[in-house]
Subunit: 219 residues, 2 copies
């Protein structure tokens, strides 16, 4: 006979797979684009061996799948909803853990010093895009942009921001986005563009959340 407890124990298995900072980092990275072990290891500052082990655990929990492509093993998220799950986890943590608030506060401290332009919510962004008076700026690395991005977004990786300013319209408000709420790239971009006199704000989410919400994406 199946007891309810067996089911809960199995659910706990999945939750436990989410219960490690490095694994969450791997999942966030995978939410941008599928990637090889090697790539994942270097973008998350793990040794290859260690990354591989964590990926196995995620695989056992059904959160990622792997397939071989030549010498490389390509990992990807099994399910779009994993992004939603992490988003909800984030919301619950932010509203109920003081520690979390402290850390997020610090991440946003720069912005506040700068003149406190609040981040643009998804709803607000949709309205602005409808109106057509904003330009979307994707400051992620080129490969992540290539794997998928918001419609009509202009890609300028942060490192080349100043060098490629000519791609940005001067007459529109600019909305910058990157990997997600905790990603520093768009914060940085907004600061730098603001100093250069652009009207610029940050999208409070990132590409993965947009996609997981079922909104249209481009390649």
């Amino acid at each position: 006979m199946t007891s309810q407890q067996d089911l809960l124990d199995t659910l706990a298995l999945v939750a436990r797979a989410l219960g490690n900072g490095h694994r969450l980092a791997l999942l966030e990275r995978l939410a941008q684009a599928e990637a090889s072990v090697d790539t994942l290891a270097s973008t998350t500052d793990l040794t290859v061996g260690n990354a591989s082990q964590h990926l196995q655990q995620l695989r056992r929990a059904g959160l990622v799948t792997a397939s071989r492509s030549g010498k490389q093993m390509i990992y990807r998220l099994t399910d779009e909803r994993i992004v939603l799950l992490m988003g909800l986890l984030r919301q619950v943590a932010e509203t109920n853990l003081a520690e979390m608030e402290r850390l997020v506060g610090r991440l946003f401290a720069d912005d506040d010093a700068q003149g406190a332009l609040e981040a643009v919510s998804r709803r607000e962004l949709l309205a602005k895009l409808q109106g057509g008076q904003v330009a979307l700026l994707d400051v992620r690395p080129e490969e992540e942009y290539a794997a998928g991005h918001l419609p009509e977004a202009i890609n300028i990786p942060l490192a080349q921001l100043e060098a490629m300013l000519d791609r940005l319209p001067r007459d529109k408000e600019i909305i910058a986005y990157c990997r997600g709420p905790y990603c520093a790239l768009s914060h940085e971009a907004v600061q730098r563009l603001h100093q250069l006199g652009y009207r610029v704000r940050r999208f409070e989410e990132g590409y993965p959340e947009w996609k997981a919400a079922g909104l249209p994406v481009m390649r």
Copy 2:
């Protein structure tokens, strides 16, 4: 400087709190109604000491709060969204873990043998309630019903089902619900009522999901 990794580590802390079957059981119980350590321990088959420890962990993770009422410590969920979080965790687990499917399959095996009436979805239930030709049956214990229930639901705890049949209308279809998708109470009720000749089906979710979705509840 706050690194993104600090934030992920803190998130992982919350996920880890969900990563234990007993703690998930405690949370599910708390989703029904607030309760004392003693009550929680006995409904989840834990010793009081052990339950207390798990509750502390949930508290550290910001998932529950406690307040003293006389000699007793009353625990409650901090946030309605925790129910949503567990629901999403369940969905992800069910679609991506074979083991999960196996266990759920077994739980539903009885129903299938019985003539396979599929469970009623939330959307379907809302439509049926609109129409007015169904009666809602809440088969949870009286205290949980008292703490909150679906509008117009009739409470008959499973143990008294046969004794209190006169409360059920014979001319309407009956929709039974209980604590949630994995709760056995409504399965059992449906089987027994079906044998007695009632037109009866099961709501696929439970009270906590209904409430967390922002739908109206009664006391």
